[in-house]
């Protein structure tokens, strides 16, 4: 049971699966920029087609790809209503208390909802086609230039790597503590708000104490292995982008440029 959770990732062997995670993340950012800058309704039609193509390429079942957006129906409704009622108060049809619905608002609401939908499905395709570990690595890689403005990116990367390494251990340990306290008669729920807080203490306090103990031991082990926060260590080498990564990047960049110019 001591397993690192895989999030939404589903193993596969498609072109999209095989792209470098950092390249994929960059592609996503480019596509997001393009989507946000799309104004014409026809543009959104094009996007839906492109998205269908992408899902096809990634060989992800459409149901999986759309799953993240499907559960958010009420959320889209909310976006629509908010924009409908508040976006353009000066062109309102009627005015009820603070609500001032307008057709410009309706259009804007549809636009925002479409954007959010596209963003969600696109990021979902990324998460379904890339292992979480590779994605974390991609974040590290893309953020590593921040070291030039004095951000300790290597330290941050080390912290992330240690954090991931601890996830399965702590998951198992937390589950063990929950069971141990249940066996001792702990009940983690209570109707009263103040008591509710205290009810989870038998779980939370030991989890933190155990986790901090582990941190203590690991930091000692790291020092024993020669770690020093104050010196530069050899930097992690990332594999260079391959031809297909560059191709994907240039396609996305082209899309971004086109959509931003045409709007």
């Amino acid at each position: 049971m001591n397993r690192l959770p895989a999030g939404l990732y589903q193993p596969g062997d498609s072109v999209v699966h095989r792209l470098d995670a950092a390249a994929k993340l960059l592609c996503l950012l480019l596509l997001l920029a393009a989507v946000v800058n799309t104004a014409a309704p026809a543009g959104y039609g094009v996007w839906v087609l492109l998205l269908a193509l992408l899902i096809r390429l990634a060989r992800i079942p459409p149901r999986t790809a759309l799953a993240s957006a499907a559960g958010l129906g009420w959320f889209f409704l909310l976006i629509l209503l908010m924009n409908l009622c508040f976006y353009a108060p000066e062109q309102a049809w009627v005015s009820v208390w603070i609500f001032r619905p307008s057709s410009a608002g309706l259009l804007q609401g549809l636009r925002v909802a479409a954007r959010v939908f596209l963003l969600l499905v696109m990021s979902n395709v990324l998460m379904v086609s890339t292992p979480p570990l590779a994605l974390t690595g991609a974040f590290e890689r893309l953020l590593s230039p921040l070291r030039f403005i004095g951000v300790p990116t290597e330290l941050a990367a080390m912290i992330l790597s240690v954090a991931i390494q601890f996830i399965p251990t702590l998951l198992e340990e937390t589950d063990g503590i929950r069971k141990a306290q249940t066996a001792r008669g702990a009940r983690f729920d209570s109707p009263n708000l103040w008591e509710k807080g205290k009810a989870v203490l038998p779980l939370l306090a030991p989890v933190f104490v155990a986790a901090f103990q582990r941190a203590d031991e690991l930091s000692l082990a790291m020092e024993a292995r020669g770690y020093r926060a104050d010196i530069r260590r050899g930097r992690k080498k990332y594999p260079p982008f391959r031809a297909c990564d560059w191709l994907a990047l240039s396609l996305c960049a082209a899309a971004a440029v086109i959509f931003i110019i045409i709007r």
Binding site: M1, R3, E173, G176, I177, K179, A180, Q181, T182, A183, R184, G185, A186, R187, L201, P202, A205, P206, V209, A210
Partner: protein, 282 residues
């Protein structure tokens, strides 16, 4: 308290790629007042079995009966189960969290409807059983003690409820010889006073010495079940199936190979010594 497993199966994460059968069609009975040792390789289903008996997990099939009552049945008293069955998990010291030893040891007693005096006397008894002076430790923080002491405090927290069935998962791991000795003596005493004990351990010598019987699991199924003398009789065949080193048995076996007539069921140290002394005098 008697325990009966009837055809119990347990599957983790059913229907996912990670589906694992932890326990398969397990049937066994532990009699009231018995001291049973549970052995098996890591991942053989020992932990799942004790969690099922303690009612911390639901089986996917079969029944678990405590004193003849199905613990997953509709009318079963779950709160009573928590009181009557005590579980000492592996490295139980991490479960300590209260501000004082007294509060921590009394934690399990909150829902029993006991009076303050009853609680206090139970806490006092549990702490003294574990070798602490009640007055000296009751107001201290349980988190400030040393590793071995914390282990004893955690066990006291389980004993305070006066369980009829005590389940222990590797209670000796990490203890030094003095700590082991003290804990084992206590378990022996509790067992004599009528507590049924179910102890998971890799330590074959210890279980041979203390347990009335050994339950050996393999791949989630019952593999061997009987007194240590019987189960360890085909020691060499079992070595790769999760029986740890039993030195007494190894010594006896070595002497048998040399032509000594020592019974194959020699698994306790005293037994071995008697046999050797007996043979030597001849």
């Amino acid at each position: 308290m008697s325990v009966e497993l009837r055809n119990v199966s347990c599957v983790y994460a059913p229907g996912t790629p990670y589906e694992t059968r932890a326990v398969t069609e397990l049937s066994l009975t532990i009699r009231d007042g018995e001291f049973a040792g549970v052995m098996g390789k890591t991942g053989c289903g020992k932990s799942t079995m004790i969690q099922l008996i303690a009612g911390l997990m639901r089986p996917s099939g079969g029944q678990i009966l405590l004193d003849g009552q199905d613990i997953n049945g509709k009318n079963f008293d779950r709160d009573g189960l928590r009181r009557r069955v005590g579980v000492v998990f592996q490295f139980p010291e991490i479960q300590l969290f209260e501000t004082t030893v007294k509060r921590d040891v009394a934690f399990g007693l909150r829902h029993f409807g006991w009076t303050e005096e009853e609680k206090e006397s139970s806490v006092r008894e549990a702490l003294e059983r574990m070798g602490f002076s009640y007055e000296a430790v009751k107001d201290k923080s349980p988190l400030g003690f040393s590793g071995g002491e914390k282990r004893r405090l955690a066990v006291a927290g389980v004993l305070a409820a006066r369980p009829e069935l005590l389940i222990l998962d590797e209670p000796l791991a990490g203890l030094d010889p003095l700590g082991r000795e003290a804990l084992l003596t206590l378990l022996g005493e509790l067992n004599r006073d009528g507590t049924t004990i179910l102890m998971v351990s890799h330590d074959a010598d210890t279980l041979a010495e203390y347990a009335d019987r050994i339950i050996l699991l393999k791949d989630g199924r019952l593999f061997r079940d009987g007194p240590a003398a019987e189960v360890f009789a085909d020691y060499d065949a079992l070595k790769d199936n999760g029986i740890g080193v039993c030195r007494v048995r190894e010594a006896a076996e070595a002497l048998r190979r040399r032509g000594w007539e020592i019974p194959a069921g020699t698994v306790r140290y005293g037994q071995l010594l008697d046999e050797i002394a007996g043979r030597w005098r001849q």
